[in-house]
């Protein structure tokens, strides 16, 4: 009767040691990759870009320092130092050079950088001026687009400054055939094209680049085999010597050839996973359905008596630790948006097979176990849920949730599969989906989804309605007329749509410019070798080699928009309790409240600079005066009282997140203003745009660039997170909140939606607590919600962690689409997490 082995497997001593070593020191920036890529580029000037990329990858694989860390069973490190990071000047570099002196002391994700590295990189960077993808993309954008970006209407920063990443390659194929298998495939394709064929030139260049990059990866692994052998010779401990010899044997076999055992498969997987992140700086290189493609190796070994369950678990735990060894330095602003040193390597268990049967197996349970053992932010661990998901699997996942690690995220097959079908995937491919990065579904090994194409702040076009297209004194939108003269709500809503549609076009222009820049300056032959149909079509992923191509920018602020529009409709037009002028006046004066110090300081500096530039002398008292005026908007007490009254009025009307059909319908419609126009646009790779509705953690920094909104949200405070209700506005418990969110159309947001709930651990106490929790997820999913994730910590715990970070170094919270160490987050983000509604049961 027992179908799965669900009993806990204990964690070995080795895993603890690996984790301790990994977190012993602050992460370091290393220069090696930066030097090597530059050397190679200098020697390949004037060659086709695809061969330059392959040669650079070869040069790196041959020469980058390699290391085997103590106690490791799975080897392959991108940096000498644990959790270190390399640099990728081909994408962008100015920001890092500008931040050399602050990167170690900044609040979000600090990195140590030595003076020597600074000097070296300073030299390296001289070569790259004007040669980066970022430079090229900028030159491709329309002037209006650049202006919209400057005014923070949207932020395409991720791919603007970094590699694309956001892919799941066909791991299963490498495990089975090895890179040699890919090389033969490329050679075969090469021999099939005749030289007189006009496509011969480009295709043969690409296929040769594929062959060279696969060979580079094989050489890299062979270096590890040699190093392990060398270390084994010197090793005095006989047990460790034995381990090193096995490592040497593994590395001489994989990923060159197919894996013959579970251990070889694990090592093969890891080399691929790691090298993809050496070729490019793109994050969200997601392992995907690990429990599926690894299972045959596990099953064979187990049945043949070649491995025990415990040994297999330890190998998986080792991979889980290694996923945290990779790191990436981002610019200070992006670091706030992606806080927590996260690489978003999403690994998913459970779900359905491509034939529609339940896919849960023993490894699915062991994936949960590994996450319990390591309790680290990576992998971003997810589970797929469908009507046929075994209850014991849900309970085991809920047990993991209860640990407070913020994992797993739960995904609903019953929404995602039809959603992918509507985007043109075959039924088999749709059933075989996995999650990329935060919450983005796709089919592995066939997709270039550009899943994290931009952050789009839905509240900003609303601000433009109030200002007739002006922002900060500059005209950046379209003219929609004087807002105070609008006669009907429809007129107001149409004005919003007009501002919004205009900005969406600019967003598309920004993304497509960046897209083209990547195809011209950074095509990736190694990554492309493992995604269909790049070899068949003879072109890289960046040039449209994948079967499925998308661009997925993320909208956020739905709850604010729904509440804002509802407030305008109810108070101004329906009940006529305030005039539009009064509302605008209150918003302009931040509802009678001061603006935050930091913002006031920045604005003062800007203002003073303007005065100074005009030639006037600046005095201390002038600075103080300006600061005070900006901070208080020059309000008198009677004015404050008047504006606060407006806010009280707004607070008194119902809000999204409380299961009120009228507002929920509003939210659904607001989401359509973003999701529907987007799918009409096309990208240069032959695919369409598809919307996501999630903010990662950008709702905090981008909220800090957004003025007060008609929902009563104060200026520069965080915008609502994902599709979740505004913080503190859902006051009728988790079921009401979930019911509201489920009213949105999750299917059309095929790039993913994000619903965050925070639970006090008491809500999950005992078996009955787990049962209720599972039922809550199931019932939300029955109503076609697509994603759900949970923070299970107490408010007190978080406050204490804020005050005494030293005691909470391993406290993991779910930030948005991923888990992060709480103490590494910036103060404002910590506050945001604390302030989110705490859903308690009584």
């Amino acid at each position: 009767m027992k179908k799965y082995t669900v009993t806990d497997i204990p964690r070995t001593e080795r895993i603890k040691k690996l984790i301790d070593n990994l977190y012993a020191k602050m992460p370091v920036i290393e220069a090696d990759r930066g030097i090597l890529v530059t050397e190679s580029y200098k020697s390949t000037e004037n060659e086709p870009i695809i061969s330059r990329r392959a040669k650079a990858f070869m040069h790196i694989c041959k020469n980058i320092p390699i290391t085997i860390r103590d106690f490791e069973l799975i080897v392959g490190s991108a940096t000498k130092n644990p959790r270190g990071c390399q640099v990728f000047p081909e994408y962008s570099f100015e920001w890092l050079e500008n931040e050399f002196d602050t990167v170690a002391t900044r609040t979000a994700d600090p990195f140590y950088i030595s003076d020597e590295t600074k000097a070296t990189l300073h030299e390296v960077y001289k070569y790259w001026k004007g040669k980066t993808t970022s430079d090229l993309a900028t030159s491709y954008m329309s002037p209006e687009t650049l202006k919209a970006i400057e005014h923070n209407i949207f932020t395409p920063g991720n791919y603007f400054y970094n590699g694309i990443g956001h892919v799941t390659v066909n791991y299963g194929k490498i495990l089975e055939k090895g890179l040699d298998g890919i090389i033969s495939e490329a050679k075969e394709a090469l021999s099939a094209i005749s030289p007189e064929d006009p496509s011969y030139i480009k295709r043969s260049q690409f296929l040769n680049a594929v062959i060279l990059s696969c060979e580079a990866a094989e050489i890299y692994a062979a270096r590890y085999a040699a190093l392990a052998l060398e270390l084994a010779k010197k090793e005095t401990d006989s047990a460790r010597r034995g381990e090193l010899l096995v490592i040497a044997s593994n590395c001489s076999r994989v990923p060159k050839e197919g894996a013959r055992s579970f251990y070889e498969a694990c090592q093969s997987f890891w080399f691929i996973q790691m090298l993809l992140q050496v070729e490019s700086s793109g994050h969200s290189i997601s392992p995907g359905r690990f429990d599926q493609y690894m299972y045959p190796y596990f099953k064979n070994d187990l049945e043949a008596g070649k491995i025990t369950r415990e040994a297999a678990q330890e190998l998986m735990d080792c991979i889980w630790v290694k996923l945290n060894d990779l790191n990436k330095v981002r610019d200070a602003a992006s670091a706030e948006g992606f806080a927590g040193y996260s690489l978003f390597q999403n690994l998913i268990a459970g779900g359905q097979t491509k034939d529609g049967f339940d896919a849960t197996n023993d490894l699915s349970f062991m994936c949960i176990q590994a996450t319990m053992h390591v309790r680290l932010p990576q992998p971003s661990f997810s589970v797929r849920v469908w009507n046929g998901t075994p209850h014991e699997f849900m309970i085991k996942a809920a047990e993991l949730t209860r640990t407070g690690v913020g994992l797993p995220a739960y995904y609903n097959d019953e929404v995602i599969i039809p959603s992918l079908l509507s985007r043109g995937l075959s039924i088999e491919d749709a059933r075989d989906y996995n999650i990329i990065g935060c919450v983005e579904p796709q089919k592995s090994g066939k997709t270039d989804g550009w899943h994290d194409a931009a952050f789009y702040n839905m509240c900003r076009p609303l601000e433009l309605v109030f200002s007739d297209g002006y922002d900060d004194g500059e005209f950046i939108g379209v003219h929609t007329g004087d807002v105070t003269k609008m006669k009907t709500f429809e007129e107001f809503y149409n004005a919003y749509k007009a501002q919004n549609n205009y900005m969406l076009k600019l967003l598309v222009n920004a993304d497509n410019s960046i897209d083209v820049a990547h195809s011209e300056r950074c095509p990736l032959p190694f990554q492309s070798s493992m995604v269909e149909d790049c070899i068949g079509r003879g072109k890289s992923l960046q040039e449209g080699g994948a079967i499925y191509n998308f661009t997925g920018p993320q909208g956020f602020g739905i709850a604010n928009m729904a509440d804002s529009l509802y407030a305008v409709k109810t108070l101004v037009f329906d009940q006529k309790k305030i005039t539009m002028y009064e509302l605008k006046d209150a918003i302009d004066h931040n509802f009678g409240e001061d603006i935050p110090d930091k913002i006031a300081e920045a604005k003062t500096q800007k203002e003073i600079k303007k005065i100074a530039d005009s030639g006037k002398t600046i005095t201390d008292s002038m600075i103080m005066e300006t600061y005070k005026k900006i901070k208080t908007s020059g309000m008198q007490p009677y004015q404050r009282a008047k504006y606060r009254k407006v806010r009280e009025l707004i607070d008194s009307i119902p809000k999204f997140g409380n299961d009120i059909p009228e507002i929920d319908a509003f939210a659904r419609d607001v989401a359509y203003t973003y999701t529907r126009p987007l799918e009409k646009f096309r990208n240069p790779r032959g695919g369409i745009f598809q919307a996501g509705l999630y903010p990662v953690s950008a709702n905090v920094p981008l909220g800090a660039q957004t003025g007060a909104t008609p929902d009563g949200r104060l200026a520069y405070t965080p915008v609502a997170d994902g599709v979740s209700p505004s913080a503190g506005k859902d006051v009728h418990g988790p079921t009401s909140s979930a019911n509201s969110v489920s009213k949105l159309d999750h299917g059309i947001a095929s790039n993913g939606t994000l619903f965050n709930m925070k639970f006090h651990p008491s809500a999950l106490e005992g078996r009955s607590g787990l049962e209720s929790f599972v039922a809550l997820i199931r019932a939300y999913f029955d109503q076609k919600g697509s994603h759900m994730q949970f923070n299970v910590v107490s408010r007190e715990t978080l406050r204490d962690a804020q005050a005494h970070p030293e005691n909470y170094k391993s406290l993991v919270v779910r930030v948005a689409g991923y888990s992060a160490l709480f103490t590494t987050l910036s103060k404002s983000l910590q506050d945001d997490i604390i302030n989110r509604t705490e859903q308690m049961s009584f």
Partner: protein, 263 residues
């Protein structure tokens, strides 16, 4: 069918979603206004009076109590049907006293049964049995308090004697689909092993009861007394410790019942 219940009116003061401690699964609790008892420790003092009243909550005056129809309440209850279905949950009527508004309560429970929902009431059991009898066909679970076996002490702390309650317990045990006995564990009132054992033994003697819940006293109602300008008669009495609850649990276990701390 549902039409005949729809317009029956009653007086409630709250509807609480996602309750997981008052009956099986995820439940919605409807709190009826008005109670026959005045328990000193009551954590819902705003539930006691039948009349609609004002109280101060978080510095603001709010109205407690509203008259509703069964139809209105059902509309709210039905919003969480997916959660009941997935958890085996349903609806619990609490109070106040669920037996104090029989026309409304029975209509509401009947309407719930029309929709196939699991139903429960949380009650003191202080009513004529003829009233209770009306609930039996439409109530899947009685969660009934036995606060003390000694009538004098019962009266001292709740203002009512317990004879009628104990008699009703015997009848409910034999006629209802399921009965669970609950004991609020109140320091200075019933928190000795002897008193708890006595209740447990009584519950066991009912024959059909298998489960007894010990609900430790808490002070979460304190602010409400302030908000209603009423005296909090429990003073500073501390809540029972975890250890003490375990001692009481062991004592009650001797009866042979399943003893659960909390609901």
């Amino acid at each position: 069918m549902i039409e005949q219940f729809e317009n029956v009116t009653g007086r409630i003061f709250d509807i609480q979603k996602f309750s997981v401690h008052d009956g099986p699964g995820i439940r919605t609790i409807v709190f009826l206004k008005g109670c026959y008892l005045r328990c000193r420790w009551c954590c819902n003092p705003e539930s006691q009076e039948y009349h609609i009243e004002k109280m101060i909550r978080n510095g603001k005056e709010v109205t407690v109590g509203r008259d509703v129809t069964v139809g209105e309440v059902m509309e709210d209850i039905l919003k969480d049907v997916p959660y009941y279905r997935r958890s085996g949950g349903g609806v619990t009527l609490s109070g106040g006293e669920a037996l104090a508004q029989p026309d409304f309560a029975v209509a509401l429970l009947s309407a719930c049964k029309e929709y196939g929902l699991n139903t429960a009431i949380e009650t003191t059991g202080f009513a004529d049995f003829s009233v209770i009898e009306r609930y039996i066909p439409v109530c899947d679970l009685f969660l009934m308090d036995i606060k003390h076996t000694d009538s004098a002490k019962h009266k001292e702390f709740t203002t009512q004697p317990n004879e009628i309650i104990l008699e009703n317990a015997v009848k409910i045990a034999h006629k209802a689909k399921k009965l669970i006995i609950r004991v609020p564990v109140i320091p200075t009132f019933n928190d000795t092993p002897e008193e708890i054992s006595s209740i447990a033994n009584f519950a066991k003697s009912l024959g059909t009861v298998t489960e007894l819940h010990l609900l430790p006293y808490h002070r979460l109602g304190y602010d409400k007394y302030v908000g209603l300008s009423r005296e909090y008669k429990m003073g500073d009495i501390p809540v029972p410790s975890k250890e003490h609850m375990e001692i009481l649990r062991s004592a009650a276990m001797a009866s042979g019942l399943d003893i659960i701390i909390g609901g």
